[in-house]
């Protein structure tokens, strides 16, 4: 059964009761939440996720609830907890959906060390996967959002999961998080996606989440060997530039973007070395979305 098969009342009953159990990528989540915005967020942005039985193993037991007491009325806040642990300070209640998404990111990054976790989008087409690591402002998520509406499959928007067991990138197709000007750029680019509610005034600015397409969530393969490593750099007014990157430099850049490299230690170093050894690596500077899409097609269809 999928989350979209649950009617509104059933969804709320699960969320406010023992928890809504569902799968996202390789992870199983139990989410308890009485906040209406969370229920709307899950219904709208995780419709293609498979629900899980009560006896299923759960990776992350998550609760998001409103802070009690006077806070309920005066500047209401939401608090995120994972197995009873509260890793963050409460956020304004209006940012409840963002608190859930960021909290789930934290759960994955802080405890899923069977993967080297790289801050990166991953997209795939015709069996060719592209890893797009990016620091804030690089345009990674904007480019990813556009690519998945031009025939590419979303493997991941926020984190590439490189498996220690098989050396493959595993899919975790969660909602794409877009910020500030990127929201309007993608809305002008495509009418297709389903959007969550606008979350204003977060520490990252205004945010909207875009639903991952059904084809990304439910169709195989769920793991793939990547072929390209492309470091995107958005720069207003620049000329498009595709520069082959040495494997040494690519390794260093990849390590800088790996959340748990220090935890994996020498194993992480060997994983990065093996991965980069098999990839074509590029630095890619672009001035706008059209040039960005053309550049990715150029990289993946022929030698730039």
């Amino acid at each position: 059964m999928l989350i979209s098969d649950l009617d509104c009342n059933t969804l709320k009953t699960h969320l406010s009761g023992q928890g809504l159990r569902f799968r996202t990528g390789p992870f199983s989540v139990s989410l308890r939440a009485t906040i209406p915005a969370i229920a709307r967020h899950i219904a709208k942005l995780y419709p293609h996720s498979e629900t899980l039985d009560n006896d299923a193993f759960i990776d992350f037991h998550i609760t998001t609830h409103q802070v009690a007491g006077l806070r309920r009325w005066l500047k209401p806040q939401v608090v995120f907890s994972f197995d009873g642990y509260k890793p963050f300070k409460p956020l304004p209640l209006a940012q409840a959906a963002a608190a859930f998404e960021w909290g789930l990111n934290w759960c994955i990054a802080s405890s899923s060390h069977q993967y080297l976790i790289i801050h990166s989008a991953v997209v795939e087409k015709d069996g060719q996967a592209v890893i797009l690591p990016g620091s804030p402002g690089s345009g990674k998520s904007t480019l990813c959002a556009a690519l998945i509406h031009r025939g590419w499959r979303l493997f991941s928007d926020e984190m590439a999961l490189l498996s220690a067991a098989d050396g493959m990138i595993h899919s975790v197709p969660r909602p794409v998080s877009l910020k500030n000007q990127s929201i309007e750029i993608i809305k002008a680019f495509t009418q297709e996606p389903v959007w969550g509610e606008r979350i204003e005034g977060t520490t990252k600015g205004d945010i909207e989440h875009m639903c991952a397409p059904d084809s990304s969530v439910r169709q195989p393969p769920t793991a793939i060997h990547a072929k390209y490593l492309v470091f995107p750099h958005y720069q207003s007014g620049c000329l498009t530039e595709i520069t082959p990157l040495s494997k040494g430099r690519a390794s260093m850049n990849l390590i800088e973007n790996a959340f748990n490299f220090n935890i994996l230690g020498h194993q992480g170093f060997e994983m990065v070395s093996d991965l980069v050894d098999s990839l074509e690596c590029y630095d890619f500077t672009y001035p706008d979305l059209k040039q960005a899409l053309d550049g990715i097609e150029q990289i993946t269809s022929a030698k730039p």
Partner: protein
């Protein structure tokens, strides 16, 4: 016991991983090769002789290069304090 350092060579570059500190370093391949020789215990005049034989550089160049690299590697915690 595994070596303190792990080396991954690609063409004219090498990425070195320090198991003790968790740091990674991107080095020119020749410089990494010298580091590898030092960690294997080849030091001082033996190291200079090896470089002259394998890389067609002069005695003065090899002396200057190894001396300067040794200081850098020592400050980065990649080699211990004994040189000769």
């Amino acid at each position: 016991m595994p070596s303190l350092l792990a080396f991954q060579f690609w063409d004219d570059e090498c990425v070195v991983y320090n198991r003790l500190s968790g740091d990674t370093h991107l080095l020119p391949a020749l410089h990494a090769e010298i580091l590898q020789l030092i960690t294997e215990g080849i030091r001082g005049d033996n190291l200079i002789a090896r470089l002259i034989a394998e890389h067609a550089i002069s005695h003065d160049e090899a002396t200057e290069l190894t001396s300067s690299l040794y200081k850098s590697y020592k400050s980065l915690g990649l080699v211990d304090s004994s040189w000769n």
